[in-house]
């Protein structure tokens, strides 16, 4: 196919921008175009183009040898990806929902994160695993899990979670170029909730760097993925009352950019950590631990977490907003740290 197909923006793109799922599709097309060893596969990613259409049109464009459907088995998909990488390929696997990745945990924990180490560097596994995660769109049971904390606890795998179309494209391309395994979790809520004008060409954003998405001096909000929007909304409301909240988007959970968080918290002295996974043992707990180790004497108030409850994510219902943190809950936490 002509390379122009990937680099020419769609007619409306320059004006209205693209959704995150389109930006991901863009990144996948560019990766497939640039490197013939890149392969894309998973359940329903070929003919259908993925249940969220992230791989829409890619099988047609790059052929069924490079973009293909697998049988319905997550451990098999993960093992296939590892084996392909051992054989010199650059596999990009899709797990249909992050809540369905548990059958693959043996492959992930026993091998994906361990291979370089147990072969003393002979083998690299440049594997990217994409998986939609999180709630906010009334999905059925098991479809809204946020297992990033489980993945972040596995030595040897990186975890990246974008919060916007432009960031998703640049981070996904960086993940695919990375020599190590990367989990790339995509907030389902963000797939189509925002549009952004993005660069049509290939570009990357560095992994391992957090980003201050809104500057402020009163309280630091630390979040990632689908919770960044929530924090920004809270910051807008607070600003109307003259309280400037600083919002940090971690983007990469592993390796964690501790310096950016510590710098901010040392300046504000107050911090709220926001994540939608169950509160106990979630990745936010790791952030809090790092702050306790590195910034305790700078704190003016106890650290507060706003997270999902220690209960399974509620399916379908209108009750979802009681589970998934929203701007109101974040603002309540902000009030707590400001009045402590």
């Amino acid at each position: 196919m002509a390379p122009e197909a990937a680099t020419t923006p769609l007619p409306d793109r320059a004006q209205t921008g693209v959704t995150m799922v389109q930006a991901i599709n863009d990144a996948l097309a560019l990766a497939l175009e640039r490197d013939p060893t890149t392969l894309l596969f998973g359940e329903d990613v070929g003919l259908l183009g993925g249940v969220f259409r992230a791989s829409d049109g890619l099988q047609e464009r790059f052929g069924p040898e490079r973009v293909f459907d697998t049988p319905l088995a997550e451990s098999g998909i993960m093992g296939l990806a590892i084996g392909l990488a051992l054989g010199g390929m650059r596999p990009v696997a899709e797990l249909q929902f992050a809540g369905f990745l548990y059958p693959a945990l043996d492959q992930i924990m026993s091998h994906l994160g361990r291979y370089r180490h147990r072969t003393r560097g002979r083998f690299s596994l440049p594997v990217v695993v994409r998986a939609p995660y999180g709630g906010g769109v009334h999905t059925p049971e098991q479809h809204a899990d946020s297992p990033e904390g489980v993945l972040a606890s596995v030595p040897g795998v990186k975890v990246v979670i974008p919060s916007s179309p432009a960031r998703a494209k640049g981070l996904l391309l960086a993940a695919i170029a990375d020599p190590d395994p990367v989990f790339f979790l995509e907030a389902i809520k963000l797939y189509r909730s925002q549009r952004e004008v993005i660069e049509a060409d290939y570009y990357t954003y560095p992994l391992g760097q957090a980003r201050v998405v809104r500057g402020g001096n009163a309280v630091t909000l630390v979040s990632y993925g689908g919770m960044v929007d929530v924090c920004l909304k809270a910051a807008e409301v607070a600003a109307r009352e003259g309280v400037e909240l600083e919002v940090i988007d971690l983007e990469t959970l592993v390796p964690l950019d501790e310096a950016t968080i510590l710098e901010s918290v040392k300046r504000t002295g107050r911090v709220v950590v926001v994540y939608e996974a169950p509160r106990s043992g979630g990745f936010g707990a790791e952030v809090v631990a790092r702050l306790a180790e590195g910034a305790l004497y700078y704190l003016e108030a106890p650290i507060v977490r706003v997270a999902g409850w220690d209960a399974p994510y509620p399916p379908f219902t209108t009750l979802e907003h009681h589970y998934r943190p929203d701007a109101q809950r974040v603002l309540a936490a902000v009030r707590r740290v400001l009045t402590a």
């Binding site: 088995a73 098999g76 590892i82 392909l84 370089r116 072969t119 560097g121 690299s124």
Partner: protein, 342 residues
């Protein structure tokens, strides 16, 4: 489905064999080399010169015979009991010694050795073997993958997923199930209701072959057919090599607790090395002098490998945090600093 066998347990072959004299001698030497290492390894473990070791006594023909069907550019994917297969496909003896000493230097195989590291989590190697096989299609010289698992491993979900993926993707992979009768203490008949593993191939849409795993000739001939089929693009094969684990599960295991070792001794009569030697002797291809000379060669080879292993410096503490990522990030660097000099 009959079990493929050319040489009966007593080694008395009525007609001709589908292997030439040179192939028979080469096969015997490879099987004898495998036996030699295994016997010495158990002793070395008892002397504290190896760590916990997984012996394979009785399974040499199943491993060596199948591995001998591979070309050098093919890949071998072992579980932890496949030291014999790995040796046959080119893993240096010193590397094997270092591996079983849990020495970090034993973990990195030479670049030109197409053997993956031993897999301990059961059957997890199989889906990866399929991926490796599919990857071969994208290379100028496509390779075939031979992947090993035990009878116990066939109970794992990964066994099923791998065989299904391989068949659907027509992957050039040969699955070798060494049905050695035991998964630690659980006998095959308590592992599966149909103890004929090869029967399962039908369900996956691939050929399944049951072979006498103690008959080197049968193992090699069967594996060659499967490898040729994979190389031709006709997809995977399931080979069930019926053998017997004459040894304990590992050097830490005590089989007296779960099986009658009188029966084990009886099964010694079916072991593969003596059977193959009988074939060679009957054909005038081997005698006591050659045996004695060859054993001396093997002693010398192992002695040299042990010397290499003994001369390898003790690993530094910092090695336990190396090679986690291509580039160490701040947390790793901190760990390295903490362990450097420890």
């Amino acid at each position: 489905m009959d079990t493929v066998r050319f040489v009966p347990a007593n080694g008395e072959v009525a007609g001709s064999l589908p292997l030439g004299d040179d192939e028979l001698v080469a096969g015997y030497m490879a099987v004898a080399r495998a036996r030699h290492f295994d016997e010495r390894a158990v002793v070395l473990q008892r002397q504290g010169r190896l760590g916990v070791y997984a012996p394979y006594r009785g399974q040499e023909a199943a491993q060596v015979g199948t591995a001998m069907a591979l070309a050098p550019h093919d890949w071998l994917v072992p579980s932890y009991r496949e030291s014999a297969a790995a040796l046959t496909h080119g893993l240096p003896l010193s590397q094997l010694v270092l591996y079983w000493r849990a020495h970090a230097e034993g973990w990195r195989y030479p670049e030109d050795v197409r053997v993956l590291p031993f897999y301990i989590p059961i059957a997890t190697q199989l889906p990866q073997a399929v991926g490796l096989a599919v990857a071969g299609r994208f290379h100028r010289e496509p390779w075939v993958v031979m992947a090993y698992v035990g009878d116990g491993g066939t109970s794992e979900g990964d066994f099923h997923e791998a065989l299904n993926f391989a068949a659907v993707l027509r992957a050039p992979v040969v699955f070798v199930v060494q049905n050695n009768g035991w998964a630690i203490s659980v006998p095959t008949e308590r592992q599966m209701a149909n103890v004929r593993v090869a029967d399962r191939a039908l369900g996956y849409g691939m050929p399944g072959v049951r072979v006498d795993g103690n008959d080197y000739v049968a193992c090699l001939v069967t594996a060659r057919t499967a490898v040729a089929r994979a190389r031709a693009g006709d997809g995977p094969t399931l080979i069930e090599a019926v053998t017997y684990r004459l040894a304990p599960h590992t050097t830490s295991d005590d089989p007296h607790r779960y099986r009658d070792e009188v029966e084990t001794a009886r099964r010694e009569a079916e072991e593969p090395l003596g059977r193959l030697r009988a074939v060679l002797s009957a054909r005038g291809l081997w005698d006591v002098e050659r045996e004695t000379a060859f054993m001396a060669e093997l002693d010398e080879e192992l002695g040299a490998a042990l010397a290499v292993a003994d001369a390898t410096p003790e690993p530094r503490a910092v090695s336990i945090v190396e090679h986690v990522f291509a580039e160490p990030w701040p947390d790793q660097r901190r760990a390295m600093e903490a362990l450097d000099g420890a």
